[in-house]
């Protein structure tokens, strides 16, 4: 028995080293079709690499934005700066509460925000979090938080990306990487915002669907709320505008609103401002720059009206 346990343990160690080494070379040289569970894209869409590089040197902020692509494409840091507010946008593509928690734990103390605005899009509560985990692992440092995230998401692609990313971090293989400010139609703006070249949306018929919450995403969401409460940082939840043709296809919007209202001060901008599906959006769920300006203006106005004390104290600074 003793021999079996010792042999098995040594084999597991041997096998792990073998796996790590082979994964590195396989990841480097194998054809994509032979690595279905290998996804490691540094500098992937949404400028996550640049954003997560900038956050490390950005310093303290007045407002921190969290959320999915609706956050980094929806909260224009320049508009807030023009209103006297230094902000940073930590949003990333398909970011679910699991990744938000990781990023918050990593950068909250560094940014020391006076207010957190968390963009909540119903779909993110029903995602498995794989896409965003891969994005965060590929474009940020990898530590114990990343490993915990991988366990939570529990997907082979995420485990492989974590191992590969860890090797890259260990040997500093990503140091020479440079991400251009302009990539395709996207332009990175200091503070984490990504401006999209103006484009318009032609509304299409979408299927009716229901907003569904995954238990583990809701649990991570609760943890985020707890963390912010513990640090006494005020939190505002914002449902950014999406085209009416999309919004009205959700059969249980009231249910979503009621859940969000339970957690913190919540504003559903689909019920607050009226935007034109064609003129203010570039696809079925993202605002174009015209829409962003209208949305941000209204948000600032509402913050002034509803959170006068917090807002004024932020602006005085």
């Amino acid at each position: 028995m003793k021999k079996f346990i010792i042999t098995t343990t040594i084999f597991l160690i041997y096998s792990f080293v073998f796996y790590v080494v082979l994964l590195y070379f396989w990841g480097q040289y194998a054809s994509p079709r032979f690595k279905p569970n290998f996804v490691y894209k540094i500098g992937s869409g949404g400028h996550t690499y640049t954003r997560l590089s900038e956050v490390k040197i950005f310093g303290e902020v007045d407002i921190l934005f969290l959320g999915s692509s609706h956050a980094y494409r929806g909260f224009d840091t320049r508009i807030f700066l023009n209103n006297g507010l230094k902000t940073f946008n930590l949003g990333s593509s398909s970011q679910t509460p699991i990744q938000t928690k990781v990023l918050l734990d990593r950068y909250l103390d560094r940014l020391k925000p006076k207010l957190v605005i968390y963009e909540v899009y119903p779909e993110i509560f029903n995602l498995d979090g794989v896409e965003s985990s891969l994005d965060v692992i590929s474009n940020d440092k990898n530590d114990i938080q990343s490993l915990k995230m991988a366990f939570k998401v529990n997907n082979m692609k995420v485990y492989n990306a974590f191992i590969y990313g860890f090797i890259h971090d260990l040997f500093g293989l990503n140091k020479s990487y440079y991400e251009p400010v302009i990539k395709g139609d996207d332009k990175y703006v200091s503070g984490g915002f990504v401006e999209r070249k103006i484009d318009f949306y032609q509304p299409k018929k979408l299927e009716k669907r229901e907003i569904i919450f995954k238990d583990y995403q809701l649990a991570a969401f609760s943890e985020i709320i707890k963390t912010l409460k513990k640090q006494k940082i005020p939190l505002i939840l914002v449902y950014a505008p999406i085209p009416k043709s999309n919004y009205n296809n959700y059969t249980n919007n009231n249910y979503f609103d009621s859940i969000m209202n339970r957690y913190a001060t919540y504003f559903n901008f689909n019920e607050i401002i009226s935007l034109n599906d064609s003129l203010h959006f570039y696809d079925y769920h993202h605002l174009n720059q015209k829409g962003v300006e209208k949305f941000n203006k209204k948000l600032i106005e509402i913050l002034r009206e509803n959170n006068a004390i917090i807002f004024e104290s932020l602006c005085k600074k």
Binding site: M1, K3, F4, T7, T8, F11, Y14, S15, F18, Y19, L22, L23, W26, R33, F34, K35, P36, N37, F38, V130, N154, N155, M156, K157, Y159, N160
Partner: protein, 483 residues
């Protein structure tokens, strides 16, 4: 709990450690622990159905005790009937109730009488077809005085619920497995290592081969109307390797896991796709079920004895029942009948026991004749799998009709075909490993037996790597769970 899940990866080492380090000094305690672990394993899926296993265990245990005391033949028959009725009653209700109801409605409707009856939303308890057959074998063997009934309820409960083979077999005979619960198990290093090897190979078969083939088999079968005949052949091939990898993979994990706990289960698959005729195939495919039907149905019906008509009748009965055992659908019945038709010419010409040894024993490659017969047998099996996999009979017929059209001679084409290439390569490698390891108990054991440890370990590690690289990201249950 699935063998290919993180839950099981945590469960197995914990059970192993407690089993050997905490409970090993007391046999009763160790058996009790097996029962507890097995009930936890099963309850992980749905704890409500534990009551079925417990009830089935109680009935067969009490029937066994009754048979021990009873000498009156009529009363003994009644006791056996109770066991059979309870087990088949469970199976009939959970698995076949809706099938019979729907078919009765159709028959009466055909005869002009409309019957109003609602089908029930019945959840099929995982593994019910396996453990009911296993417990029934106990009652039948005790009735036939092939074995002494047990008085040890814990040992009997452990025999019925033994977690490695509880949900998808091998369907063990009480005469083989139950006595293993009576005696103290000693840890055997070489058996444990062999068990680990078999678990690894089983996981490869299930996760890399079966689950990836399933993606393309499902794609092609679900949209068969829009594909060419050649693509449909490819779809059937994917299914052939899906079902083999899935079920034999499960059996390997079950047998390997049992070895870690000092138990020997019967072999369930013996390289069936290298069979040279259909009789050999059925001696190598799902052996525990085939032999169960042989011993408890075919032989009691008269087996090969009697005239030609009796032989034909018995063959059809055993294959149709075997097909029906797989599921409440006409497709399985037709699949069974088809296999009976394949088998009968061999039986009637006394050629059904021609190929008893593994093909090309002691040789590297098969002869041309063997290769031809392997190919022809595989074609027969493949044809049968179309019925097995199709949603209904008309689906199977349209699938076959399309294969037999001129589009059979076109190049196969389906969405995502370029992604299937690595899977096809892996299947070819898998076939080669199975071929070179066919004389061993488990293919990889035979291949690596003379290798130096570093090479052997690198080979195992490479298999682990392939599992990590090709594992589908959605956990898929074993096909045979639905049976």
């Amino acid at each position: 709990m699935l063998f290919n899940s993180i839950d099981f990866a945590i469960f197995l080492p914990i059970v192993f450690v407690v089993y050997w380090f905490v409970t090993s000094k007391n046999l009763k305690l160790q058996n009790l622990f097996i029962v507890a672990a097995s009930y936890l394993f099963y309850g992980w899926w749905d704890w409500r159905f534990l009551s079925l296993i417990f009830f089935s265990t109680m009935v067969d245990y009490l029937v066994g005790l009754g048979l021990l005391k009873e000498e009156n033949q009529i009363k003994r028959k009644i006791l056996l009937l109770i066991s059979v009725l309870v087990n088949l009653g469970f199976l009939g209700f959970f698995k076949y109730y809706n099938f019979f109801l729907e078919n009765f409605i159709k028959v009466f409707s055909f005869l002009g009488t409309e019957i109003k009856a609602n089908s029930l939303h019945i959840i099929l308890p995982v593994g019910i077809s396996f453990y009911t057959f296993q417990t029934m074998s106990y009652s039948i063997d005790v009735y036939k005085r092939k074995m002494e009934p047990t008085k040890d309820f814990i040992a009997f409960a452990a025999f019925v619920s033994f977690f490695p083979q509880l949900v998808a077999g091998p369907i063990e005979r009480a005469t083989n497995l139950l006595p293993q619960f009576y005696k103290k198990r000693a840890f055997d290093y070489s058996k444990a290592v062999q068990g680990m090897r078999q678990i690894l190979w089983g996981l490869f078969k299930k996760i890399v081969i079966a689950d990836n083939c399933a993606v393309y088999a499902n794609l092609i079968f679900n949209q068969s109307a829009s594909y060419s005949g050649s693509t449909l052949v490819l779809g059937a091939l994917f299914f052939a390797f899906q079902i083999y990898g899935d079920f034999s993979g499960y059996s390997d994990i079950a047998i390997g896991t049992s070895r870690l706990f000092g138990f020997e289960l019967m072999k369930n698959f013996n390289f069936p796709y290298f069979s040279r005729d259909i009789a050999e195939f059925w001696r190598r495919w799902h052996i525990s079920l085939s032999t169960w039907f042989r011993d408890y149905l075919y032989i009691p019906l008269g087996g090969n004895r009697g005239g030609t008509l009796i032989k034909v009748r018995n063959t059809f009965i055993i294959f149709i029942v075997s097909g029906f055992w797989h599921g409440a659908n006409w497709t399985f019945i037709v699949w069974g009948m088809l296999n009976a038709l394949y088998f009968l010419p061999l039986l009637l010409t006394n050629k059904n026991r021609k190929n008893m040894e593994i093909v090309a024993k002691g040789k590297l490659l098969p002869g041309i004749k063997d290769l031809l017969f392997i190919f022809l047998t595989f074609i027969q099996v493949l044809f049968g799998w179309i019925f097995f996999r199709a949603n209904n009979i008309s689906h199977a017929i349209s699938y076959i009709s399309k294969i037999l059209s001129h589009s059979l001679f076109t190049i196969p084409k389906f969405a995502g075909m370029d992604k299937a290439l690595p899977i096809i390569i892996l299947v070819i490698i898998f076939i080669l490993i199975e071929w070179f390891g066919r004389e061993g108990e488990c293919a990889i054991s035979r291949i690596v037996q003379n290798w130096y440890r570093p090479i052997r370990w690198s080979f195992y590690s490479f298999i682990i790597f392939l599992i990590g690289m090709f594992m589908p990201t959605v956990e898929s249950p074993f096909i045979y769970f639905q049976f």
